[in-house]
Each structure stands twice: as C-alpha cells, then as structure tokens.
C-alpha cells in the first residue's frame, strides 16, 4: 500500500516536473501565442508602413526632404476640393466599368466556347489564356504600335476600309484614349474571368440542359434560365475582384497614355504617382492613395449590400 502510495507520489512529481507552462494555458491562449509571430510580421510589414503612410499624408513632405511639417488634414481637403481629384475619380469609374464589362463579356463568351468539345480545343484554350502569360508591358507596346496615330496598322486598315477618312490619334485624342485603354485592359485581363467561369460551367449537371431540351427551351432561354443563375456566385466574385484590381490598376494606363492627353485618362493611382513622384510631393500623393482606399472601401461595401444575397 505504502509502495503504491510512493509510486503515485513519484508519478505526480515527475508529471509536475515535465509539465510545460503551456499546458496550463487555455486553448485560446495557445492559439494567441501561435498566431503571435504572424501578427507581429504582418504588423511590421503591412500595418506599420500603412500607418506611416497615413502620417505622411498629414504632413507637407517632399520626396527629397528629410522631414515634413504637420499640416493636419490639409492634403485631404485640398485634394477633395480640387477638380483634378473628381476628374480622376470619374476617369477611374469609367475605366473600371468599361474594363470590367469588356472582360466579363469576353471572359464568359470564351468560357462558353471552351466548355464545348471540338477539335483543337487544347490549342484554342492555350491561345485564349495566352494574354495572361504576356507581360503587360509587351501587351501595351503591341497596342501602341497597332494604334500608332501616324503610321499604325489599325489606322491603315481603317482608312483602307473607309471606316475613317484620316489616321486617328488613338492615344492622343481625349475622345479615343480612354476607350483604347479599356480595350487593352479587357484584352489583357479577360482570361481571369474565363478560368473562373469555365470551372463553374463544368460543374453544371448536363441533366439540366437535357430537361430543358425536352421542354423545348431555346439555347438563349437555357442560357438565361440555367447557365446565368448557376454562374451568379462566380460572377459576383469575378466582378468584385476585377473591379478592385482595375480601379487600382496602374501599369496599363501609365504605359499606354501616362494619364494623358492632358488629364483625360488620369485615374486616382496615376494621380497619386504623379503628385508623389513627378511633383515630389510625397505627403499629398499619399493622401490621394488613402482617398483611393476610402473610395474602394465604400464601393465594395455598397456592392456587397446590393448584390451579396442575390448571388448566393
């Protein structure tokens, strides 16, 4: 009995000795400890620069300067009261709606084609997805060459076909510059929608269409009544992501028109860049960047409230 008691005491003693302090923590506390390194890393690399950026936006600060002077929300006030900001916002909305619409139409169309069986499907799939593999700079250069205002192939073709009387300055005329950028963006970015929609199309049971055939539904009716409702959730995500990305897109516009002619294709990211890096006014440029974030946050919130339930 005494031996058993000794053994029990020894066991408890050993168990106490090997017991880690972590064993005393609750599951939640352990979770916090495990997540802490990631939280610290994110704080350092993500939130801290953003916080510093916000501080810059409250300062008059040159890109060359070693210190700034506090001016409160003056950068924000001067930005939102300038016509340039509202022009850039309007350009961004037009560009985003146009580009997203083009990517959706082309993306859904090509996905519908690829969802069918035909000879050379693999080759066509590769071809359709190829814009995603070409660097943006290459795509824009090709379009600039095609649509060169003096001697571009597009002008030559359009003049020969009698569509225009004289070469059109596609990138230099405020009327055409934005539509050309929208076409470039649509062409460069539609494969994303294609891939998303194609994946969803392949999960729609054939029985739905067979039943519709039996009931005599036309192809158009099948598309409207079966395909589109099935695609709703995917399209919701595609539109959301494409909108966010496109509104923040910098490279295509910068390489295509640089925001010109004048400010006719200047969007908020381009405006932020030009102010911060061409104008050397880091504080004001950062304020524009933060306002871009606010605009996107409001837009995203409104989008969720309007379409989220409908997409489920």
């Amino acid at each position: 009995m005494a031996e058993a008691s000794d053994f029990k005491k020894k066991s408890v003693s050993i168990a106490e000795r090997i017991r880690s302090p972590v064993d005393d923590l609750s599951e939640n506390q352990v979770g916090v400890i495990l997540a802490l390194p990631l939280v610290l890393l994110l704080t350092l690399l993500y939130f801290y620069p953003i916080a510093r950026g916000f501080i810059f936006s409250l300062q008059e600060l040159s890109l060359f300067a070693t210190s700034g002077s506090w001016i409160g929300i003056e950068n924000y006030v001067s930005t939102v009261t300038s016509s340039r900001f509202w022009g850039a916002l309007e350009n961004g909305i037009v560009y985003t709606i146009g580009s997203v619409a083009v990517t959706l139409v082309i993306g859904v169309g090509t996905a519908l084609v690829l969802n069918r069986s035909f000879v050379g499907k693999r080759f066509v799939t590769g071809l359709i997805l190829s814009p995603y593999m070409i660097p943006v700079v290459g795509i824009v250069l090709i379009f600039r060459w095609l649509f060169n205002g003096l001697n571009g192939v597009a002008n030559y073709a359009f003049v020969q076909l009698g569509l225009v009387n004289e070469p059109v300055a596609w990138f230099s005329n405020p009327t055409y510059a934005m539509p050309v950028l929208i076409i470039i963006s649509g062409w460069a970015l539609y494969p994303f929608v294609t891939m998303l929609v194609l994946a969803k199309l392949q999960t729609i049971p054939d029985e739905y269409y067979e039943a519709a055939d039996l009931m005599g539904a036309s192809r158009a009716r099948q598309f409207i009544s079966i395909t589109l409702p099935q695609l709703k959730s995917v399209l919701f995500v595609a539109i959301l992501l494409r909108t966010l990305w496109t509104f923040n897109l910098f490279d295509i516009i910068w390489l295509g028109t640089g925001g010109g002619p004048g400010n006719s294709t200047e969007t908020l990211p381009i405006m932020a860049y030009r102010i911060a890096f061409d104008g050397l006014r880091l504080g004001e440029g950062t304020a524009v960047a933060f306002l871009t974030f606010v605009v996107l946050a409001i837009g995203t919130g409104a989008y969720f409230r309007t379409f989220n339930e409908a997409s489920v």
Partner: protein
C-alpha cells in the same frame, strides 16, 4: 524652415537617419509598390581605419576596402566608358571599390531619394536634371564641393553650367545637352520652305505651314503636350524668349503675363501644323517620325541624329540639320534650354574625400572626352577646351558630323541657359529649379490647345496653381 537652416541642420546632424528614413521609404510604398525600396545591411563588418575622410564602418570592408556607390543615367555605350573610368580609379586608389549603378533618366531622383531614405545613400550621384539637382541640394541631400571646382579654377568649367547655392558649389559638370531643332533639309528644299535658322516666329510658322501636307501624312512641326515635364521645355523656352517667365528674382510668380499668353497662343497656332498624335507622344517617340518623313522638323535634347539616321533611315546622311529654336523677332535673344548636371557628393557619404576625388576623376578633361566618345555627338562638353582635343576628332562619327556637332555646341554657347540656374542671375529658386515648373507650363499649353482655353485664362489658372503649391 528656411533652406539655409535645413542645410545647416543636415550638415551637423549625426548619422542616425536609418530608422526614420526606413519608415519613410516604407510609407512611400503605400503610394505605389516600389521594388527594392528598403535598405539592406551594410556591406562591411570591419572597423574604419582611415579617419581622414570621416568614414564610419558602414561601407568599409573587413580588409579596409571602401565602397563608393555611384548612380547616373548614362546610356549604354557611355556606361561602358564609365565602368572603365571607375576601374582606373579603383587601381589609382588601391583600397576603393566603386559600385556603379545606372538608373533610368526619370528614375534617378527617386532612386537617390529612396537610397538616402533607406540609409544607404549613393555617395556620388548625377540626378539627370538641373531641377533635381537644385532640389536635392536645397533639401540637404548633397554637400558642397567647392574644393573640387576651385582646385581646377572656374575657367576649367563651362561657366553656364556651374551651379551655386548660397555661395557653395554642389556639382561638377562633365557633359550635358541642349534643346535644338532638327530639320530635314531635303523636305525643306522639296517644299520650297524658308531654310533655318529662322529670324522670327513668323518665319518659323510659315515654314511649318509650307511643309505640312496632310495628304502625304507630313507635318511641319509637332506640338508635344505629354504630361512629362520634358514636354514643357519647348513652351517654357518660347515664354522666356518672349520676355516672360515663371518667377522673378524676388521670388514672385509672373507666369500670368501677356508674354506667357502670347507664347501659348503661338503654341496653339503651331498646332495647326502638328498631327494630333504628337500631343500624347512619349519621349522616345518624339524623334522617329522625323526620319520616317512625317515631321519636317522636331525639337529634342540629346543629339541622337547620327544613331537615329543609322537606325531609321541611312539615306538621310547629311540631310538632317540642327538649328536653334527661334525667338519671336530678330531683336529678341533665343533661349536654348541646356542641361549640364554633373556629379554631386551625398551629404551622408561615409567617404567624402574619396567621393570628391572620384568626382574630380570623372570630370577630368581627358575622361570627359572619353565619355563624349562613348556616344559620339550625343552630348556637349561642360568643361572647356574639349573641342580642341585631337582625340575627340578621331571618331569617325564626329568626322562625318563635324559641322553638325560644332553647330550644336555653338547653340549651347550662344543661347544655352540652364534654366534652373540661369533664369535669375542671383537667385536659384525652387520653382524654376524643379522639373515641376515645366510640367505646369505644359499643363497651361494643354489647356490652350486641347481644352481650347483662352491663353490668358490658362496662364492665370496655372500661375494661381504655382502660387498655391509654392506658397
């Protein structure tokens, strides 16, 4: 805070900049994602043995080798010459390693600011434009290099290219470029247009009109209205030639003047003989149409005529001439905007004396000749006596383009002005110094040509903008 006090503070400040600059750099990343904007660990772990140059351990290797980081935006062939020159400097010095980086023209100021912000400044830098140099010096990124300039005597340098701020020199010029008008002599002869040099704007415009034949897709003179400050150079020159300007010596904005409005009206009138496609032309696209026959004349800075002829149209050998952009009338003095930036030394360098010796080495006359030969006829010398150097004329290209090149240098000598420095004889001011002022000038031209705004209204609008931004 005044400019002087800022500089004074910078000069006296100990080297504890890394943290604040790092976070500033990181913040800049919230505007646009910028690759490589964070600082890296210093190269050496050893102790500084040579205290004569004020060194600290940061860029001194364990074997005592000191690293000097250099930035410029030289074109490819000239980069190779610079590499040779730096190798020679390393051999001369014995314990110096020159780390040379070439950045794009437009990126130079950003790269310099970011490197400084990240605590790893470029020890020796050429910031690609006088405006950037003025701003960088005013902001305390650079330190005076009076000894470099004065040791050689001011006669050694092209007087126009020397830059002084509050009595100190900040740059040692090597070579530069000048804005000039290139024209196709064959097209002028074919069209019977008055041959340059022009005595007045009337003659200039008359030639543009005669040369324009839209049925042949040919235009007399392009009007560039892109958003880069470089596109503002031509209207800026026109305004200055017409007696106008951006700011007077007292620091007051004078952009909203009749002279500005007249010059903007001239830009609009010349637009009649320009293709619309020129309006948003990128900088590299400003030249090719001249050689392809769509422009009869066009303006530019770096003289690329020999290489452009070789690349685009070898048949044009001898047909592309150079002249100055004319003044409004024969009684006015033309203005040719000149850049002669040169090399400055970082205020944060850990090896100031070595950096200054390197600047002297770069601007040695013989080395300047070598740099010019890297891309013959492209740049004009900013140190004296270079045209008398026999070695310069050993170049086959310069032999072929001798008259052309001498004309180019004459334009700089006769009409050249480094606007940032020369606009106001006694005042180097931030407005003319910054590239931004040219960006605003082109903004005014855009409003007049693209948005059909009245020239005086546009001048007033942009003058107000300048007052607001530089208040």
């Amino acid at each position: 805070m005044t400019r002087s006090s800022k500089q004074g503070r910078r000069k006296n400040r100990p080297s504890k900049r890394t943290r604040r600059r790092f976070i500033k750099t990181a913040g800049a990343g919230t505007v646009v994602a910028l690759a490589g904007c964070t600082g890296s660990e210093s190269e050496g772990g050893g102790t500084e043995s040579d205290s004569s140059d004020g060194s600290t351990p940061g860029t001194t290797g364990s074997n005592g080798t000191k690293t000097i980081r250099v930035i410029n935006s030289a074109y490819q062939p000239v980069q190779e010459v610079f590499t040779e020159i730096f190798n020679e400097f390393e051999q001369q010095e014995g314990n110096v390693n020159v780390e040379y980086n070439r950045v794009d023209f437009a990126d130079a100021p950003q790269q310099a600011a970011q490197a400084q912000a990240a605590g790893e400044p470029w020890d020796v830098m050429n910031l690609a434009s006088p405006g950037n140099n003025v701003t960088a010096a005013q902001e305390g990124l650079l330190q005076p290099i009076n000894s470099v300039i004065e040791d050689r005597g001011t006669d050694y340098w092209n007087e126009k290219s020397l830059f002084k701020l509050d009595g100190d020199y900040y740059f040692a010029p090597n070579f530069g470029s000048v804005i000039k008008l290139n024209y196709r002599q064959d097209l002028f002869e074919e069209a019977g247009a008055p041959m340059p040099p022009f005595d007045s704007w009337d003659e200039y415009m008359s030639a543009a009109e005669i040369l324009t034949d839209t049925s042949q897709n040919r235009y007399g003179h392009p009007v560039f209205l892109g958003n880069n400050h470089f596109h503002g150079v031509w209207p800026m020159m026109l305004i200055m030639m017409n007696g106008g300007g951006v700011v007077n010596p007292d620091g007051q904005i004078i952009f909203d003047s009749e002279e500005t409005a007249e010059a903007l009206q001239f830009v609009k009138d010349m637009n009649e003989y320009s293709p619309t496609s020129a309006h948003n032309s990128s900088i590299p696209d400003m030249r090719p149409p001249l050689y392809q026959g769509q422009y009869a004349m066009t303006w530019y800075s770096t003289n690329q005529v020999p290489s452009d002829i070789a690349n685009y149209n070898p048949d044009l050998q001898g047909e592309v001439k150079v002249t100055h952009v004319p003044a409004p009338s024969s009684g006015d003095t033309p203005v040719a905007r000149m850049t002669g930036t040169g090399y400055g030394v970082s205020s944060e360098t850990e090896h100031p004396e070595i950096a200054k010796r390197l600047v002297k080495h770069i601007t040695d006359r013989e080395n300047v000749v070598r740099q010019l030969l890297g891309q013959p006829a492209a740049k004009i010398p900013m140190v004296s006596g270079v045209l008398e150097e026999d070695r310069l004329w050993e170049s086959e290209t310069l032999q072929q383009y001798e008259d052309h090149y001498r004309n180019l240098v004459s334009i700089a000598e006769d009409y050249g002005r480094i606007i940032a420095v020369n606009e106001n004889p006694e005042t180097v001011n931030p407005i003319t110094g910054r590239a931004l002022s040219e960006a605003m000038v082109v903004g005014a031209a855009q409003d007049v040509v693209i948005n059909d705004m009245d020239p005086m209204e546009s001048a007033t609008k942009w003058a107000d903008q300048m007052r607001n931004e530089y208040k």
